[in-house]
Amino acid sequence: MGNDIGTGRRKTATARVYLKEGSGNIMINGRLPLKYFGRQLLVDDIKKPLVVSNMLNYFDIIVNTKGGGIVGQAGATRLGIARALVKIFPELKNILRQEKLLTRDPRMKERKKYGLAGARKAFQFSKR
């Protein structure tokens, strides 16, 4: 076993994840996952790397996450957990990669452009 850190990002959120030998407790910014995210689906989502690698009850996990919204933070946490797991057990790399858990989701907010109301939306057209 062992302890290690992983960093994950998604959209504009960042998560620093500390894995420690333990019994499966997870704390996110000092709170329980369900309390912090408020949605069971997101909690299941961050546990996915642990479920896939059968590590659910072997680590205590502490997460500090900043920036973005809760969905982005959950995605960042998931990536962070997966990366930390790979640091401790390099042999998990293939399984996790197959589930796309090690892929940084590259979709980002598209910038607003000058001359347009948003990234793509044009201002209302007025003939004269």
């Binding site: 949605r39 689906l41 299941d44 989502d45």
Partner: protein
Amino acid sequence: MPRRRRPEKRRIEPDPKYNSVLCTKFINSLMQRGKRSIAQHILYSAIDEVAKKASKDGYEVFEKAIANVKPILEVASKRVGGATYQVPVEVRSDRRRTLAIRWIINYAKNRPERTMVKKLAGELMDAYNNKGGSIKKKEDTFKMAEANKAYAHFK
């Protein structure tokens, strides 16, 4: 529109509860203003309610309901020499699913029940039993195609 080749279909993730692409599609169509978690809540609760009412597996009822609403034929307008004809055409499988989802959602919205969960549960139940607004829409579409059979050769 691309100039060279047909664009590739986007692949979407299966939904987290039933691991089904159909569910994701349904949720995405149901979603308004990017409120995914509300759309998820509506669909999942409706499926649970349907399961209770039919005392069967809710997801199977949902799948069957969609299958029942899928149209086989529809009509497309085609202009030939100044006149517009309603030409019956077969519906592609992707479009079948899209139409079925759209009809179920729209006819659910017009139902008398008070909440969207109840409306959707009612419409799914009706579609499962081959009745209700969305099934009627499918049959109307089919009748339109039948009535214009004479123009089938314009395709």
